[in-house]
Structures are given as structure tokens and as C-alpha cells.
Amino acid sequence: MRNVLMSIVFLILLAFMLYVAINPGDFGSSTGEHFVFGAPKFTDMDNYFIHNGQNQTAANNIVTSIVFDYRGFDTLGEASVLFTAVLGVGVVLRLLGGGRNDE
């Protein structure tokens, strides 16, 4: 029972995801093709980075200029996630003292 239901769920999801991947053209709207590998439709934000990244951040590698400048705040968040995970591992693997809720 469970396996049958989950198989149906998997088939539905697979159909939708393959739709994203294969992209037989969009029905119901005039937007045309978005997901052709190697030909993104809009590129203006990235073009801004490519054209101004070297001037504004003095980095030859544009990815560096994004990671550490334009989207540097994400990198701070990423460091926080790492710190959180370290604390989490430290919490579960710690030595327990004479607390009353643990043995």
C-alpha cells in the first residue's frame, strides 16, 4: 500500500521535474523557452557583475567579487551555518554532567 502510493507520488514528481528539465515549450503563457541549457533568457544581473566586478572590487575572479563583495552577506550567513553545525556537534557529543534530565 505504502509502496504503491509512494510510487505514484514519485511518478508525478518525476513528470513535473522532467518537464522542467526537458522543456517542451511552455503552454498557457507567452514566455517561451527559459530552460535551454547554455542559453539563459535574462542575463542582465550577471552582466553587471561581469562588466563592473573588476573595477568595483579589484578582483580578477568575478566569482570572488560576488562571494566576498556583492553577496558577502550570504558568506557571513554561510559561516554562521558552519558555526551552528559545530556547536550542534559539540552539544550532542559533549560530556554530560550531573544534570537532572540526562543520564
Binding site: 503563457s29 550542534g88 559533549r94 537532572r100
Partner: protein, 525 residues
């Protein structure tokens, strides 16, 4: 520039920076002793609360605030040479963001004060408090950010910190099991959100919520948008604990240490904020808001009913309250769902906006009274040492203050006037029945069942003969509970204080996605 201007101008960044810095430094300060660490943590949480209040003040006075990281000046959302695209990470604070940030900071402060007493005998307390601060960072970040990838990053901070907090009392492995389940479920959800972000990025080459909403509005709602929308909305519905994806809620809340369940409630409400933000601001202009609204309403009805009936079955006090948290989340989904279902029609001004105000008011009320209830449950477990209701009894003989606080919380959650739960439930009942009377009937029945279930808890834990010879809990825990009890009574007797300063700006901000987009993109929409 004097310090006051510096704080005023950089309040959105400080709301993240203060608790984050506090979290990083907490293990270091612990070297100077436990007392110094506790003072530091409480000071950091209090300052965060101050910043959150400042944000509410700024939003109420000056309208929507934007803060661009790394730009000069910090309100320059769109660089003049970029052709109208925001390139940096933007914090956008409107009424709803400030509202959620204020709740997060408040509950963070209260739980911090409470945990001073309740975690006194544990080891690795500096890790506990650092995780608490990181959880506050995650919630604040989710509430304030206007960038969709940044939202994902803070969602991950939120889920990882919450999972680590759940595992803090290992409890013979049971707490770790709960934390594992919570972490797996929220990680797969976060990955689905990342997948949706990738789809939206591939389609529009933008990561700013306002920019995505604008381009989606201009190019029309495609099937890819539909898939991304479903991934995001279902995941956030799961993260806020809607039935039938609520299974992690009783595990996580039930096993979390002491009062930490109270802040996990707010962590779920940050996801609820995300759900509202995405459905109103990002997809609200292009998608069919009526069907999105009914999606929320049906999830809300299911959550309300299944949550409250499953709570009847429980004999663990915190699991019981966790199921009630699921059930109360249903009210918020119902209220805001009715608002979303009627958005853009004449009915919206007639009753939809009131339903939204009721749902949003219920968020802060739920945070207050469910926070108080979880704190009293933590107090009982702290003294009695078991969370099994079958083994409790007669605690009102010795823990009088806890009993009174529990009663206040129980009356508030059951919607007994004049406590705050009644005010928001009234607003929900009186507006949703105009859409469909059935909704109000279910909501009222669930409210009665809630009262019955909390009478059961009150009877079995506090009434009866004196079985345990225990003392009242430490003063810091009582103080934390009394803060929440004070606000419950205040918002019950003067509901307009909350409605006027917090709820109505939040509801109006959600209902006006064009204002949000215009503020970020400078009149481009």
C-alpha cells in the same frame, strides 16, 4: 556622526549583527566565568529587543525601510549604471517583517532569562546560549531579508540551530532522535526551496524578491513559476507545522529542553512569515490568489482539527502542547488564508482584511500564550523530573505561581475573555464566517476542544492531593513567565495597542505588494 544616528541608520543590519556577534563571542566570554556569560547573553538579547522595537518605530513612522549591504549610501537599491536591477543583498522591512522580528526578539529575551534558571545544572551552557542567539539571528534574518537566496541561508541557520537546541538534553537519545527527524525534514525542505530559487533564478536572473515579483508580473505566470511556487509554499507550510506535514512538531517541541520549545514556536512562525511573504509579495501579483488562499484555508482547517484531537491522546505534557501549537497555527493559516482568498475583490475590504488582522494578531498572541504554557511545562518538568501527565498531580499546593501562570495561558489559548486569545479568535470568527460559515463553526469547535484538553492538563498536573513535595521554581523562571503573562493580560484588555501599532501595519503591508516592489525598485512596477 553621533552614535544615535549610527544606530538609527543601521538598525536593520544591527538586528542581525548584534546577536550574531553575541553568538560568536559567547563561548569566549564563558572562559571568564558562567556569570559573565549569562550577563553578556541577556544584554545582547535585550539590545536585540531594543533594535526590534526601533525597527517597528521606524516602519510605523517612515514607511517601508530598505537597507542595502555594501552600497553607498545604504538606501541605494538599484545602482544607476545597472539598468534597473538590484545587484546587492537588500533588507526590506515593512510592517510584517518588523512584527515578526519583534516577536522573535521578545521571545528570545524571555527564553534567555528563563534558561538562566532552567539550564542551571547542564554542561556546555555556553553552547546552548550561543545556539539560542543563532536561532534569534535566523528568525530575524528570515523576517528582514528581501533577497530570496539570503532567505534560504537564514532558513538553514534557523533549522540547524533549532535542531541543535532540541538535542541539548540528550534524554537517553530521545531528544537526539527528535532533533535528527527535525533536521532531516527541514533540510529536505530547505533543499526544495533552493531548487525553487534556482528555477526562479534561471528564469528571471534575479534573486531579489521584488525584482522576481515584477518580472513574473511582466512576463506572465509560467509553469516553471508554478513549480517553484509549489515547492516554496509546501515547504514553508511544512516548516510552520501544518497538517499533514506536522509530524516533526510534536517530536521537536516535545523533546526541546525547558523553555526552548517556546522559541521553537516562534521559529516556526518565522516560516509562517515566509509563507505569507512569498504568497502575497512574490507570487501574489501573478498567481491565482484565490486558490492560494484556499490552499492555506484547507491546511488551516486540517491543522486545527487534527492538531487538537491528537492532543487529546497525549500524556506527555509538552507533546500535548506541541499538538496544540499545530492546532493554533491553523487559526493563523485560516485567517490569513481568507484574506488571501478574497484579495483584490470587494469582499477583501468588507471582511478579508479583518480576517488577516485576526490571523496576524493570533501570531503574536500564540507566541505569548504558547510561550507561557511551554515555560510552565518546563517549570513542572524542572521540579518534578518527569513530563508524564499520568504521574503528576497536586502541584498547585506547592507551585502556586506556576499554577496561576498556567491558568492564564490555558484561558488565553482556549479563548476565554478577557485574555488575548479571545480577541484574535473573535476577529477570526466574525470575519471568516462571511466567506463560509463552516469555517467559523470548525474554529469554534476546535476552541472548545482546546479548553477541554487544557482542563485535562490543569486537573491532572495541578489539582488533586499533594503527591510531590517540591518548591517553587527559581526567580528568573518566574520572572520570564510573568513578562509573558503581563502581555497576555495587556493585549487581552487593550487589544487595540497591538492592533494599532503592530497588526494593522503588518496586514496592510502584506495586502499591498505593489508598494513593496515600488519601494525597492524605485517606481518601476
Amino acid at each position: 556622526m553621533n552614535p544615535w544616528d549610527l544606530i538609527m541608520n543601521n538598525a536593520p543590519a544591527l538586528a542581525i549583527a548584534i546577536p550574531l556577534l553575541g553568538a560568536f563571542v559567547t563561548p569566549l566570554i564563558n572562559r571568564a566565568g558562567r556569570k559573565a556569560m549569562l550577563v553578556w547573553v541577556i544584554a545582547v538579547l535585550a539590545f536585540t529587543e531594543f533594535i526590534a522595537l526601533l525597527l517597528v518605530y521606524q516602519v510605523n513612522t517612515y514607511g517601508i525601510q530598505v537597507y542595502v549591504f555594501g552600497a553607498n549610501p545604504h538606501t541605494l537599491t538599484v545602482p544607476p549604471d545597472s539598468g534597473g536591477i538590484p545587484v546587492r543583498i537588500i533588507f526590506t522591512i515593512d510592517g510584517m517583517s518588523a512584527f515578526t522580528a519583534l516577536i522573535s526578539a521578545t521571545l528570545g529575551l524571555v527564553v534567555g532569562i528563563y534558561s538562566v534558571g532552567s539550564e542551571k545544572f547542564q554542561t556546555a551552557q555556553e553552547k546552548f546560549f550561543a545556539l539560542l542567539l543563532l536561532l534569534v539571528v535566523g528568525m530575524m534574518g528570515m523576517a528582514l531579508t528581501g533577497d530570496i537566496f539570503n532567505f534560504f541561508v537564514f532558513l538553514e541557520i534557523n533549522s540547524l540551530a533549532a535542531a541543535a537546541l532540541v538535542s541539548y538534553h540528550l534524554n537517553k537519545g530521545k531528544a537526539v532522535e527528535a532533533a535528527f527527524k527535525y533536521a532531516v525534514v527541514s533540510s529536505i525542505g530547505a533543499l526544495m526551496i533552493l531548487f525553487a530559487i534556482a528555477i526562479l533564478y534561471g528564469e528571471y536572473d534575479a534573486l531579489n524578491m521584488a525584482m522576481i515579483a515584477q518580472r513574473m508580473y511582466q512576463t506572465g505566470f509560467s509553469t516553471y513559476d508554478m513549480i517553484a511556487m509549489t515547492l516554496i509554499l509546501v515547504t514553508l507550510a511544512m516548516k510552520c507545522g501544518a497538517v499533514p506535514m506536522h509530524y516533526w512538531v510534536p517530536d521537536g517541541y516535545g523533546e526541546a529542553p525547558g523553555g526552548t520549545s517556546a522559541i521553537l514556536v516562534v521559529a516556526s512562525q518565522a516560516s509562517l512569515y515566509g509563507l505569507f511573504r512569498m504568497s502575497f509579495t512574490v507570487f501574489g501579483l501573478s498567481a491565482n490568489t484565490s486558490s492560494l488562499g484556499w490552499f492555506m484555508i484547507i491546511l488551516g482547517l486540517l491543522s486545527m482539527f487534527i492538531g487538537v484531537t491528537m492532543a487529546f491522546l497525549q500524556h506527555d505534557i509538552k507533546r500535548l502542547m506541541a499538538y496544540h501549537a499545530v492546532s493554533q497555527t491553523g487559526y493563523m493559516l485560516l485567517g490569513v488564508g481568507v484574506g488571501l482568498a478574497t484579495l483584490g475583490t470587494a469582499a477583501f475590504n468588507q471582511y478579508g482584511l479583518y480576517a488577516m488582522e485576526g490571523g496576524i494578531f493570533h501570531i503574536i498572541n500564540h507566541a505569548l500564550y504558547k510561550g507561557l504554557l511551554f515555560l510552565t511545562a518546563g517549570a513542572i518538568i524542572y521540579r518534578v523530573g518527569t513530563s508524564d501527565l499520568n504521574k503528576m498531580g497536586g502541584l498547585a499546593h506547592s507551585m502556586k505561581f506556576t499554577a496561576v501562570f498556567f491558568l492564564i495561558g490555558a484561558f488565553a489559548i482556549a479563548g476565554i475573555p478577557p485574555f488575548n486569545g479571545f480577541a484574535s479568535k473573535l476577529m477570526i470568527y466574525e470575519s471568516v464566517y462571511q466567506l463560509n460559515p463552516f469555517l467559523a463553526i470548525v474554529a469554534a469547535i476546535v476552541s472548545m476542544l482546546t479548553l477541554a484538553s487544557f482542563l485535562k492538563v490543569f486537573h491532572s498536573a495541578f489539582l488533586g492531593p499533594k503527591i510531590y513535595d517540591v518548591k517553587e521554581v527559581p526567580k528568573s523562571m518566574l520572572f520570564a513567565m510573568s513578562i509573558l503573562a503581563f502581555f497576555i493580560i495587556l493585549f487581552g484588555i487593550f487589544p487595540n495597542i497591538a492592533i494599532h501599532y503592530l497588526v494593522a501595519p503588518a496586514a496592510h503591508a502584506l495586502a499591498n505588494p505593489l508598494g513593496y516592489i515600488t519601494k525597492v525598485l524605485g517606481g518601476g512596477a
